[in-house]
């Protein structure tokens, strides 16, 4: 339990939804449900059957909520997994068998259910196929949900509204139910910026930090936490000085947040009149309203993975895709929309077991699509059709070789042919751009610029490939520095080649939303910064507080430095002096 003198501990992870929050932890343990064999008195049997039915009905109500929110936020396809769980509740192999087991063996409902589900799980686990072995988790989810209701220690009501939920791994469903209870924030051991649950947290406005390796196992419910969803940090048992510092940081952030409304309608222009475009990274159709709300000038990156991230399902028809793209494109027209073709693989694991020893160096992005034209062609056609309704650009992910760009262009030509013969409308000359996220592209940016209409720099992957650091790996994650001079040199090389060819460059990785990086990127001449909409006002404030010249100076210093930490410290001071930062007051003591 909480020791009053407990030592302060710091966990660093990835910030996925902004906000600073201080409060007690609620540790949500998914696997903690234990059942014991207990035999009922004969006269209690019918009552137990009735409890089972009631728990199943309550579980159904949970799932109905989850299905409704998932459908609204993520679309019909994503809700299907929960639809399947709902079917399981009333499956004779679940409800019927458990009921028979209660009557026959006089087992308590939770034990009867556990026995029944265990038997089904064993069959799945015995399968030689990874995918089916993992489906045993779906059965476990259903079992846990029903048992929680049987115990009335209901998963959700156990969470006090003023808690920070901590877990090894939450699902999108969990965060939907938790957010309805008004939790303060959410911290997870696993997950990344673009995992389902992170996207959902941002969309629901719940401050969140993920990839905190080992946090959940080392704290107890009730421990006081500081959750910093700006820098991706959780402090356990903060001492008085830390608490004081974070209260200030929180106030400061909230003041800045409150002022941000007034920034929405202002131009992203430096004090010496240099304009930068600010655009939004989106992944869900209904996020389109954020474009106006946060004053974005377009959609700089529309990730299409969410459309496809449905269990095992890789084919979304051209028609279904078209409807979504068309809705997004028309909603913001004439502002531009950059649609990135499916970027699966790597951390965004293919749904079907396609395990690779080294997925980040494996089958991902355009490599997958060129191998599977049955995935790429319908998408290209759907995007082209949407181009008739506004201003569309196509972005190719994970390019390493100029030949890949040519192949995509050839397929695009074929897609246009097909559309023409089908009598479909589309815009001529839809620009085709390349993601700069592998050093080979930055190094040969001249040649890529000759084949591309624009560049979009994906800083997370570029950093990981340039520095050979997997940020999810605790042993080396400290070496992941997106302001590393080597990364900045690759960005500069990309920009120089693009300027010579006269093509625009945007930065759409996390770096674009990193306030420290903004003066440098603007100074180096980036045309567009694209990020999750919530970060836009803060970035605009930085742009409006700097001059291009100042940015150039800071960029030169950063490029010449040989120490990424020094660069970061220098930029923190600059932000502070210009009233743009939310200073990390506790940093001096905690290392970086």
């Amino acid at each position: 339990m909480t020791d009053l003198r407990a030592r302060e501990r710091v966990f660093d992870g990835i910030a996925v939804s902004p906000g600073i929050t201080i409060g007690p932890a609620y540790v949500h343990a998914r696997e903690a449900i234990e059942v014991e064999e207990r035999i009922l008195e004969p006269d209690l049997v019918e009552q137990e059957v009735a409890s089972l039915h009631e728990a199943i009905e309550r579980s159904e109500r949970d799932l109905n909520k989850i299905i409704a929110v998932t459908r609204e936020k993520l679309g019909e396809d994503s809700a299907e997994i929960f639809e399947a769980q709902r079917l399981m509740l009333f499956d004779d192999a679940v409800r019927g068998e458990a009921e028979r087991c209660i009557r026959r063996d006089r087992f308590e409902a939770s034990y009867a259910l556990h026995r029944v589900m265990q038997r089904h799980r064993k069959i799945l686990e015995a399968s030689g196929n990874d995918y089916f072995r993992e489906r045993a988790h779906d059965l476990q989810d259903v079992e846990d949900r029903i048992i929680r209701h049987l115990r009335r220690g209901r998963l959700i009501s156990a969470v006090d509204p003023s808690h920070i939920v901590v877990s090894e791994n939450l699902t999108a469903a969990d965060i939907i139910l938790f957010s309805r209870r008004g939790i303060l924030g959410c911290a997870m051991d696993y997950g990344g910026l673009t995992s389902h649950v992170s996207i959902m947290a941002r969309s629901l406005g719940v401050p969140a930090v993920v990839s905190l390796h080992g946090l959940a196992g080392s704290i107890s419910t009730g421990d006081v936490l500081v959750l910093d969803g700006l820098r991706g940090r959780v402090v356990v048992n903060p001492d008085d000085a830390t608490l004081e510092a974070y209260r200030k940081r929180k106030d400061r952030f909230e003041r800045l947040r409150a002022e941000e409304k007034s920034l929405v309608h202002l131009e992203p222009e430096t004090i010496d009149g240099h304009r930068v475009r600010l655009e939004a990274n989106l992944e869900l159709r209904d996020e389109v309203s954020f474009v106006a709300e946060y004053g974005a000038q377009g959609i700089g990156l529309f990730r299409t993975e969410m459309l496809f991230l449905v269990e095992g399902r890789l084919s979304v028809s051209e028609e279904d895709q078209f409807r979504i793209y068309q809705a997004v494109v028309s909603a913001v027209a004439p502002a531009p929309v950059t649609l990135r073709v499916l970027d699966l693989g790597g951390d965004k694991l293919l749904p079907v077991a396609h395990r690779e020893h080294n997925p980040f160096l494996g089958w991902r992005g355009i490599r997958v699509l060129l191998d599977k034209p049955d995935l790429l062609m319908p998408q290209l056609k759907a995007i082209l059709r949407a181009s008739a309704f506004g201003n569309v650009r196509i972005l190719i992910p994970m390019v390493t070789d100029v030949g890949e760009v040519r192949q995509v262009r050839a397929l695009l030509a074929r897609a246009r042919e097909e559309l023409r013969s089908e009598g479909r409308a589309f815009a001529d000359n839809v620009p085709v751009g390349v993601m700069v996220e592998v050093p080979s592209v930055a190094l040969l940016a001249d040649r890529f610029a000759a084949e591309s209409d624009f560049f979009s720099i994906g800083t997370n992957d570029l950093t990981q490939y340039a520095l050979a650091v997997d940020r999810g790996n605790d042993l080396v994650s400290k070496l992941f520095r997106d302001l590393h001079p080597a990364v900045l040199h690759l960005v500069r090389k990309t920009l120089e080649a693009a300027k010579r060819r006269g093509i625009p460059v945007s930065v759409c990785g996390e770096l674009a939303a990193n306030l420290r990086a903004v003066p440098i990127l603007v100074g180096m001449g980036v045309d567009t910064l694209s990020m999750s909409p919530v970060y836009l006002p803060g970035v605009k404030r930085v742009i409006r507080s700097m001059s291009k010249e100042e940015g150039q100076l800071l960029a030169r210093e950063a490029l010449e430095s040989d120490d990424a930490d020094e660069v970061a410290a220098r930029l923190d001071r600059w932000l502070e002096e210009h009233g743009c930062g939310v200073p990390f007051l506790v940093d001096s003591r905690n290392g970086h």
């Binding site: 299907e80 399947a84 679940v94 196929n129 269990e311 095992g312 890789l314 084919s315």
Partner: protein
């Protein structure tokens, strides 16, 4: 009673979503519905049953239907197998 042989053609096999399609389709009919695979028989109206078949791409299944509307049910079910559940083959 009628029997119909079908093949799992989609790449991912009978995972959660196809299993739920099969069960929902079968629920529209009154007849009993069983699926046989490698000497193993499950109730085709049970999603757990269908999932525990763990049928991968290429698996050959025997659909066994018995009841008033068995013919329509067999056609409807054979059709969704043929379409590969609308997924990549």
């Amino acid at each position: 009673m009628i029997e119909r042989e079908v093949t799992v053609t989609n790449r991912a096999g009978l995972h959660t979503r196809p299993a739920s399609m099969i069960v929902r389709t079968a629920a529209r009919f009154h007849c009993d519905f069983f699926i046989h695979k490698d000497g193993y028989e499950i109730n085709g109206k049970s999603i757990i049953g269908v999932m525990t078949l763990a049928a991968e791409q290429g698996a050959v299944l025997k659909l066994v239907l018995d009841g008033v509307d068995e013919a329509e049910a067999a056609d409807a079910l054979a059709q969704i197998f043929e379409d590969g559940f609308g997924e990549v083959k």
